[in-house]
């Protein structure tokens, strides 16, 4: 992985950072690169309350806030910023307000790299709105001052539209931290991780690939 001046990660939900980026975040931190994670909401509208339920619609945000902090701790991340928007409403916020929020984060952290979703191919409306705001903010910057932008795309039509990722990170040095981040979001991941742990124990090649490598699309302006 390339050395960076500062990495700014922008996602809307607690756990968006865990699945495909936590290894990258933890590796940058081990390399001494400062990383800031701006998480726009607290995942207040998560559907997973259990049956029998472990939470209510009203207690879920506090649970997910704790999980987000625990995930940051697992990755060794110290600059976690909770931006105070509400889950599933990001796309309805004023577009200029969103650009200003991202611009303020960029001005404050001066990143050489931003990691976010790929606009148009990130499925959840909050992902799309976050991606649009980041891309629009960076697009407005002078080309010579723009940070690189690595993006995650997972729409079913992704490969058809933009091919395969061009950035590949070996994150095999931080397995425990990545699993720690995933397990920190227990309210969202406990079932998935029970299955994943079984596959990892059985040395399933796809599961090991997931654990050891992370992939991004460089966004071109």
């Amino acid at each position: 992985m390339e050395q960076e001046r500062h990495v700014l990660v922008v996602f809307p939900h607690p756990d968006d950072e865990a699945f495909g980026v936590s290894g990258t975040i933890a590796t940058y931190i081990e390399m001494g690169v400062p990383v800031t994670y701006a998480c726009l909401t607290l995942g207040e509208m998560g559907r997973n309350l259990g049956n029998p339920p472990f939470a209510t619609r009203e207690t879920l945000p506090a649970i997910r806030k704790k999980e987000l902090q625990a995930s940051a701790d697992a990755m060794g991340l110290t600059d976690l910023r909770m931006m105070g928007l509400r889950d599933k409403t990001v796309e309805f916020e004023d577009d200029e307000k969103m650009v200003k929020m991202i611009k303020d984060l960029i001005d404050d952290t001066n990143p050489s790299l931003i990691i976010t979703f790929y606009p148009g191919l990130s499925v959840h409306p909050d992902h799309e709105a976050t991606a649009r705001a980041v891309i629009e903010t960076v697009r407005r910057m002078d080309a010579s001052e723009r940070p690189k932008v690595y993006t995650i795309a997972f729409d079913n039509d992704t490969v058809n539209q933009i091919g395969h990722p061009d950035v590949h990170h070996d994150v095999s040095g931080v397995n425990e931290k990545k699993l720690g981040a995933m397990n920190a979001h227990a309210s969202q991941t406990v079932w998935m991780m029970a299955d994943m742990q079984k596959r990892l124990d059985a040395k399933d090649p796809d599961a090991l690939k997931w654990l050891n490598t992370e992939h991004f699309y460089t966004y071109t302006f």
Binding site: M45, R47, N48, L49, G50, N51, P53, T56, R57, E58, T59, P61, R86, K88, V123, H124, P125, D126, D155, N156
Partner: protein
């Protein structure tokens, strides 16, 4: 939350009748429904912290229940309610949880505003 018990739930609904109350009403299939199942028609609705004053509230049907609130000039209803709780803030939280533990519908009534 516990499994909804009709008589107990009816008493709680009655206790908020005739008062200005804040409402949270939500139905959802989840944002990923049409990602995981192509062609799925994904629909839902959400309102939060809307103030209403209902004159009559009724729990209908065996579990899952339907809840209807009659307003001076309108209606609120939710169907699929399986669980409920009167929380430590005196708010009546009702939810419809599928066998997979995922929320499909929520109806909540409170005399104080819900957090943002």
């Amino acid at each position: 939350m516990e499994l909804a018990e009709k008589d107990q739930l009816q008493k709680l609904i009655d206790s908020f009748a005739g008062k200005d109350v804040y409402l949270h009403l939500e139905t959802t299939n989840g944002s990923y429904a049409s990602h995981f199942q192509e062609g799925f028609f994904n629909a839902g609705a959400f309102i939060r912290n809307i103030v209403v004053n209902y004159e009559l509230g009724k729990v209908a049907g065996d579990s899952p229940h339907r809840i209807g609130l009659k307003l001076p000039s309108g209606w609120v209803y939710a169907q699929g309610i399986t669980h409920y709780e009167l929380d430590e803030h005196g708010r009546l939280l009702m939810a419809g949880l599928g066998p997979d533990g995922k929320l499909a519908v929520a109806l909540e009534i409170s005399e104080t505003p819900f957090t943002y």
